[in-house]
């Protein structure tokens, strides 16, 4: 096998430019085009970049092109193609001298690197051969001496230097008793999390950060000594990539851009230009090889002149990061920020030169799925992009490889060292404190409707009705054996850690297990969610993650309503520290054949069987007896059809028609009856146009207050008031009584995501060996 060498020539590029030029006119091509004849002056003595292979020719002449492997994800850490080079170009111009720092590893692939603050060393991620994993290495730029810093059965990628002699990176290391986080939405692939090592100690000083349910990738150094990174956020209907930061010890994970609008679905490959001003790539997560438009991201607090004055270095006491009002400037407006074909190529991995110009990787052509299968993969070369002229100037282009991630070899100021916000060697059993000073404080402008809020009220009004805050743990398929999905919902697995009391001053306080991703729902006196937080939050052992309100303004100081300490602090934090097996999970049903040993604590179907199914299972008392709708499958070619019938409302556990050998767990009629109408609405029924009367949306995930089922049942609060104004309650009107707790379970089941599966109804057991001994996940 050999790597591609000299296979692709300029002919390819010329052909593409010619055709594109015909399509879009020459000006479009010229706008982002390159000029190899212009003299390049980068004003640094050298640059470093990685050249990654994409094409391999086997001994038998078979050509394999791997452009897209891994690009269905946010990152391509599994896209291994041998033959990468870590190159130094000095001087940085087309005729500069090139040397490969990893010459000794001809089978290697790279996955990110960084230049040290003193510009004497490079840290990089390398997979040395097909049977290796990506691990962290350093190389001295003067001597070429390479040292391995991490090893083992995991991938460590995209390293960056941190102040104080540490290195941060992303890893797919398994470190929960459930296994590596595995986003079910991402086909259960191992999720990458943040970790750090020391330069000297490598794995001996390895520390792991708290967890997200989806990938954390594309790390960059923050001016304040923190770790910046792109985070894939998947929580129910949310699916995007935002910018986050975390302290070097993994604490204080907070959004810095992208949570309140951005010009694309994903922000990746970001570097910080000056405090709270970034350069990065705006793109679509899929089909773009993570290439897109250059975007300048300004997250400064424009209302504070101190924050805007670059000459004032000491900004202590000023909230200079305004993540809620981030300004975006697309520097290359012709480049799509979606997945469509680009008329002018696409960019990757920008970084700043000392004079403000940008080093970028740029490839001509569509740079999306149109190029992935041809023998003309996009050709990324290194260019200097001048924001003033919008032109690229060629610095280096190996036409057989992707040249990426160029960085100047120039000293840069080392950010301040942030002391550990939590203990240096934290007891993993130490809880995290979460809470609010006053939950009614919010800068959000949502409206809340349904139930006690009728046609709708502003969120800040609705929050005054909050009596509790529901704390919901999230997990994915790593924690629910055999789960094919969590149900007819986009939501992940969920467990309620607890519902904290909101005190008269709006404060609440709770202690939860560390590391776990959670999200919050303020709830009204009927137990119904007022708002579903759409961002995972998490904390390190002993970390304090209290907020002011329910997403309050981050640039304004807000005092507690009745001064400090809050009522919640005076009353001590509520303890939500139950072990995994005792957490409040709401299982819809239990397949005793498949999971004979499972012992779920709360089963919705048990309530329905006892109180509802006698009238809602097609019998004589059933008002909807015999009423169904159907969807039909037609097999192309044969024209044969298969019809599936769905009951209008059947609350029994009778399995819906699909059964395989009585072994496959199927959904009971109750679950399909209640959630399928909303599913049809979500997919707009395409391809499965139902025949017959589709019932109302009995159950809408995350939205019990607008679900027809809950409206029909009605809910009575402890003060005697009714959620929907009138006192009519069902099934009490038919002589059957639902207890308050049973009613609340139905509300909760819908509000936390309408999941069918839990850990408890899938017989989950942690790893049964000692590999996590000493890691107390309460």
């Amino acid at each position: 096998m050999r790597h591609l060498s000299g296979l692709f020539t300029k002919t390819r590029v010329t052909a593409l430019v010619l055709v594109l030029g015909a399509a879009f006119g020459p000006s479009a091509v010229v706008a982002c085009g390159s000029s190899e004849k212009e003299e390049t002056s980068v004003n640094v003595s050298a640059i470093v970049f990685e050249s990654r292979a994409h094409t391999v020719i086997a001994e038998n002449g078979e050509v394999s092109v791997n452009v897209a492997g891994g690009n269905g994800q946010v990152l391509d850490y599994t896209r291994y193609v041998p033959g990468a080079k870590l190159r130094v170009l000095s001087p940085p111009r087309p005729d500069g001298a090139v040397r490969n720092l990893i010459e000794a590893f001809p089978q290697a692939d790279l996955n990110g690197f960084d230049v040290s603050f003193d510009a004497k060393q490079v840290v990089f991620s390398m997979k040395r051969d097909p049977n290796d994993r990506y691990h962290i290495y350093t190389v001295q730029l003067d001597t070429g001496e390479i040292h391995q810093k991490t090893g083992g059965d995991q991938n460590d990628i995209t390293p960056i230097y941190l102040p104080g002699g540490r290195i941060a990176f992303a890893t797919d290391q398994m470190y929960t008793p459930m296994g590596t986080r595995a986003d079910e939405y991402n086909h259960s692939r191992q999720v990458t999390q943040l970790a750090t090592i020391s330069i000297d100690g490598g794995d001996a000083d390895r520390r792991l950060a708290s967890q997200n349910l989806s990938h954390s990738v594309s790390l960059f150094s923050r001016h304040n000594g923190k770790i910046g990174y792109s985070r894939w956020e998947h929580l129910g209907g949310v699916n995007d990539v935002k910018l986050f930061e975390a302290a070097p010890d993994g604490a204080q994970m907070t959004a810095i851009a992208g949570q309140h609008g951005k010009p694309s679905n994903s922000l990746v490959n970001v570097r910080e230009l000056e405090p709270n001003v970034f350069i990065g790539i705006a793109t679509n997560r899929s089909r773009t090889i993570h290439a897109g438009a250059l975007v300048k991201i300004d997250a400064r607090n424009h209302a504070d002149p101190i924050c805007m004055d670059a000459k004032i270095l000491d900004k202590a006491g000023h909230a200079c990061l305004d993540e809620e009002n981030v300004q975006y400037e697309l520097l290359t407006p012709e480049v799509p920020t979606g997945a469509g074909p680009s008329p002018v190529g696409r960019y990757r991995t920008p970084s700043a030169l000392p004079d403000g110009r940008l080093l970028v990787s740029w490839a001509d052509g569509a740079v999306n799925d149109l190029a992935e299968q041809s023998l003309t993969p996009p050709n990324f070369g290194i260019y200097m992009f001048d924001p003033a002229t919008k032109k690229n100037q060629l610095i280096f282009d190996d036409r057989d490889m992707w040249d990426l991630n160029a960085m100047a070899v120039a000293p840069r100021p080392e950010p301040p060292v942030i002391g550990a916000l939590t203990a240096r060697a934290p007891d993993p059993g130490t809880p995290v404190r979460i809470g609010s000073v006053d939950i009614t404080r919010t800068s959000l402008t949502d409206r809340v409707s349904g139930g006690m809020f009728g046609d709708g009220v502003p969120l800040n009004e609705a929050l005054k009705a909050a009596v509790k805050v529901r704390v919901i743990e999230g997990f994915s398929s790593e924690a629910a054996k055999g789960v094919t999905m969590f149900g007819l919902t986009m939501d992940e697995g969920a467990a309620i850690l607890g519902e904290a009391d909101v005190n008269p001053d709006g404060s609440w306080l709770a202690e939860i297990p560390p590391y776990l991703p959670v999200h919050l729902q303020p709830i009204d006196k009927f137990g119904m969610s007022i708002r579903n937080q759409r961002l995972w939050i998490q904390g390190m052992p002993g970390e304090d993650r209290r907020c002011i309100g329910c997403h309050e303004s981050r640039t304004q100081s807000v005092a507690a309503r009745a001064g400090n300490p809050t009522v919640a602090e005076q009353r001590q934090a509520q303890q939500f520290l139950a072990p995994v097996s005792d957490r409040a999970e709401i299982s819809w049903s239990l397949d005793r054949t498949k999971y004979p040993d499972a012992k779920p604590k709360a089963v919705v179907q048990d309530i329905l069987n006892a109180k509802c199914a006698s009238c809602h299972s097609g019998g004589a008392n059933d008002p909807f007896a015999g009423k169904t709708y159907s969807v039909t499958q037609t097999t192309p070619g044969t024209g044969t059809t298969q019809q599936y019938t769905i009951p209008y409302l059947d609350l029994s556990e009778k399995p819906i028609t699909v059964v395989y050998d009585r072994m496959v767990a199927t959904y009971p009629s109750s679950y399909v009856s209640l959630f399928f109408p909303a599913t049809l609405e979500m997919g707009m029924g395409m391809g499965a146009a139902p025949v017959g009367e589709v019932p109302p949306k009995w159950a809408i995930v995350n939205d019990a207050r607008n679900s027809a089922l809950i409206k029909k049942l009605n809910v009575k609060a402890p003060d005697g008031s009714f959620a929907y104004g009138n006192p009519a309650m069902h099934p009490e009107d038919k002589g059957v009584t639902l207890t308050d707790e049973e009613r609340l379970q139905l509300v909760r089941a819908i509000d936390i995501g309408g999941q069918f599966y839990t850990r408890q109804n899938t017989g989950f057991v942690p790893f049964n060996d000692t590999r996590y001994a000493g890691q107390a996940y309460p």
Partner: protein, 310 residues
């Protein structure tokens, strides 16, 4: 990854590809507009901004891209965003993708199919056909892909089928695919992983090792430790790493022997790293020796780091 055999005429095929690509610029393949892409999700998840909301495919788009069998990533995206698209008519065109040459296409096809309520799990439908293919198809590649698909389906009947394949299938690639599937199913298949570790073919052993570290209920450390003496360096290397993941403290002796004597530097590297993970003070003399004398500088690096962990 896609593979195309090409002996000559690269320029012609290249230009053809480019021409196709550019033609496609003007004939976007059944892409929904923004409203179609988020409309249903926006109705069910109100209040989520357009840049954050889950996009949705349509049944028409799934059928179009899967029928064209052109762009891999377009297929992946259409199916991924079709998670909640109940499209019965799509099933016949998605099922063949479980046998596509591209492993990620196979994977996402099974991922999409297993999320269907109707049309997949009934008698004679996709799932049943997949089990039958694993047990009886004459083409070992089809059997291997069927085993992979059963792993992706994550359903209990698949455990029995792939466990049987690990034990009985005559083709090593099928046994390896079945052993990998057990890892996805998070099930040891009634000792099938142990059987895979004892297989004669290194590909099956490697697949078994990978699954051994992923299956919660697997704890047969001795079966993994035996592979420290395997004739294949790749197997020894992976076994050493697996013992670290399994926190197999009683395997120190075997790892020390590898660290000192294995002819393959990659094996020594992994053995030394695992000794550091296990933090057994008995390994100190060996690690000190390796840190000073090993011929490979990366092994010496790992030994120095391992010593700091003791």
């Amino acid at each position: 990854m896609i593979s195309k055999t090409t002996k000559l005429g690269l320029t012609v095929s290249t230009f053809a590809s480019v021409a196709f690509a550019c033609l496609s610029l003007f004939t976007p393949a059944a892409h929904g507009g923004p409203a179609e892409a988020t409309g249903g999700a926006a109705r069910m998840y109100p209040g989520i901004a357009p840049d954050q909301i889950e996009k949705l495919s349509s049944g028409d788009r799934i059928k179009t891209v899967t029928a064209q069998r052109g762009s891999m990533t377009a297929i992946w995206e259409a199916l991924e965003e079709g998670e909640k698209v109940e499209c019965l008519d799509c099933i016949p065109s998605v099922e063949p993708l479980m046998y596509d040459a591209d492993p990620r296409t196979r994977e996402i096809a099974a991922w999409w199919l297993r999320r269907r309520i109707f049309g997949v799990f009934g008698p004679g439908e996709v799932y049943e056909r997949t089990i039958k293919r694993l047990s009886s198809d004459g083409n070992p590649k089809v059997r291997a892909y069927a085993a992979e698909a059963l792993g992706e389906f994550l359903l209990a009947p698949g455990v029995e089928a792939v466990a049987l394949a690990v034990e009985k299938d005559p083709e090593p690639t099928v046994r390896a695919a079945a052993a990998s599937a057990l890892g996805r199913l998070n099930d040891d298949g009634r000792d099938a992983i142990t059987k895979a570790l004892g297989d004669s073919d290194p590909r099956v052993k490697l697949a078994g090792l990978s699954s051994a570290t992923r299956v919660n209920s697997f704890s047969d450390v001795s079966a993994v430790a035996k592979l420290l003496g395997d004739g294949d360096a790749k197997v020894r290397r992976r076994a050493a790493e697996a013992l670290g993941s399994m926190n197999a403290k009683d395997s120190t002796a075997g790892l020390m022997a590898l660290a000192k004597n294995d002819p393959d530097a990659n094996v020594r590297n992994s053995a030394v790293h695992t000794l550091g993970m296990l933090r057994d003070p008995n390994a100190r003399p060996v690690l000190e020796d390796v840190a000073k004398t090993d011929a490979d500088s990366l092994v010496r690096d790992q030994a120095a780091i391992a010593l700091r962990r003791l």
